[in-house]
């Protein structure tokens, strides 16, 4: 999911940084004082999830938890993911510093979208609907993220169309795993800590 340094063109890198800067600014503006610990916790989960390897068929991938983070934080996903990705780039050499803006945009935008589309269902009364919404939020967030990353690669170099398609196809099995993880996470949080699943609003 992390695009490495050297793939993206300067224009795409600048676009990624512009989207990320706007998202982080908006996320911090909307972030409530009391939310900061919740944001830190979600950011830590996102930061550590990359270390959990999941065996999917013949290949392995790592969890991203884009959907659950989005359901927990909403717009605050931008600053939370930016900080976590920055630490991942520095401590684990995932992605890179120049490409950080593009990587953050490709993950935070789907998180915000997941909350906007499925948040109300996840926080609703019906548990079955919440479970289904959580699954789709987790699965579609990963696929959207892969799609955005593929588009960034495609716009950097049109010859990378095949790369973009491969990226999307490679994340199809992972999206099922992410969906199931999001389902169990949100169902547990609904029962144990319902205040966490606010999507960025006040508990």
């Amino acid at each position: 999911m992390h695009i490495s340094e050297g793939f993206l063109s300067p224009g795409v890198l600048a676009t990624g940084w512009a989207v990320t800067a706007a998202g982080v600014a908006w996320g911090i503006k909307k972030m409530d004082e009391g939310e900061i610990v919740r944001v830190s916790m979600a950011s830590s989960v996102f930061f550590l999830a990359s270390l959990v390897n999941v065996r999917v068929g013949p290949s392995a991938a790592h969890l991203s938890l884009i959907g659950p983070v989005g359901l927990m934080l909403g717009w605050a996903s931008f600053p939370a993911m930016f900080t976590a990705l920055l630490l991942q780039a520095v401590l684990f050499q995932f992605g890179g510093l120049l490409v950080l803006g593009a990587n953050c945009a490709s993950m935070a935008v789907p998180a915000v979208l997941a909350n906007a589309l499925f948040g109300s269902f996840v926080r609703g009364r019906g548990e079955k609907i919440a479970a289904a919404a959580s699954f789709f939020a987790g699965a579609l967030a990963v696929l959207t993220s892969a799609g955005i990353a593929g588009l960034l690669l495609f716009f950097s170099d049109h010859g990378m169309a095949l790369t973009a398609k491969t990226l999307l196809a490679a994340h199809l099995p992972l999206s099922a795993v992410e969906g199931a993880t999001a389902l169990f996470m949100t169902l547990f949080l609904r029962r144990a800590f319902p205040d966490i699943l606010t999507g960025g609003g006040r508990p």
Binding site: S4, G6, S43, S44, L48, A61, L87, F92, Q93
Partner: protein, 206 residues
């Protein structure tokens, strides 16, 4: 098919500088029909002279063919020999532990970091090898179809060319920390995140 010919420059040439040959008694269906001008000259020599000329031609042609023919054939021939030069093998892998198998790689020499010295695909175990020609820091770049790229810098000392046969690895570099280092870095990251939160809360309280 045989056909007789005679000079008829005035008839065919119509004032042309070169003489032409008209075919006489030829098959009418043949492309070279009767009356068709042929754009070359045939010298008619006595029979004895023609035999002598042919012999001279053969004598000249055979050495020429012997000298040029086999050389031309050798230019398309292939061969092989086992190289005595030492190669450097580099292994690439993902942070998940998987090897970067069958991915494209490019090798750049210390003198030219624009044009690849060598390119190809890694093997089943994510390995590629190259034979350096001179000392310096060589770069090996492997990229896959999912936006991952590994950029390895391999220092090749002069001793590599002088001594040879040293099985020790020239460079070992892991981009991904392992073991205790990995856990320490993960703990450091979480600590930083919560310290940021604490700092923000503390600043708000003041």
């Amino acid at each position: 098919m045989r056909s007789s010919a005679r000079h008829n420059g005035d008839q065919a040439g119509g004032g042309a500088a070169s003489s032409r040959i008209l075919l006489k008694g030829a098959d009418q269906n043949h492309p070279l029909k009767k009356g068709t001008p042929v754009p070359f000259r045939v010298a008619r020599l006595p029979k004895k002279a023609r035999g002598l000329g042919s012999a001279i031609c053969v004598c000249l042609l055979v050495p020429v063919l012997l000298l040029t023919g086999p050389d031309g054939a050798r230019a398309h021939g292939v061969g092989y020999r086992q190289s005595g030069k030492s190669a450097v093998a580099v292994e690439f892998y993902y942070s998940t532990g998987e090897t970067m198998a069958y991915q494209e790689f490019r090798v750049y020499s210390p003198q030219d970091d624009k044009n690849a010295y060598q390119s190809g695909r890694t093997d089943e175990f994510g390995r590629c090898s190259f034979v350096p020609e001179n000392p310096g820091t060589w770069r090996v770049v492997v990229s896959d179809s999912e936006g991952h790229r590994a950029d390895a810098s391999i220092p090749i000392p002069q001793e590599f060319f002088d001594g040879g046969g040293d099985p020790r690895p020239l460079a070992v570099k892991s981009h991904m920390p392992e073991g205790l280092d990995l856990y320490l870095r993960a703990a450091l990251g979480v600590s930083v995140l919560f310290n940021v939160a604490a700092a923000v809360r503390f600043r708000k309280c003041i």
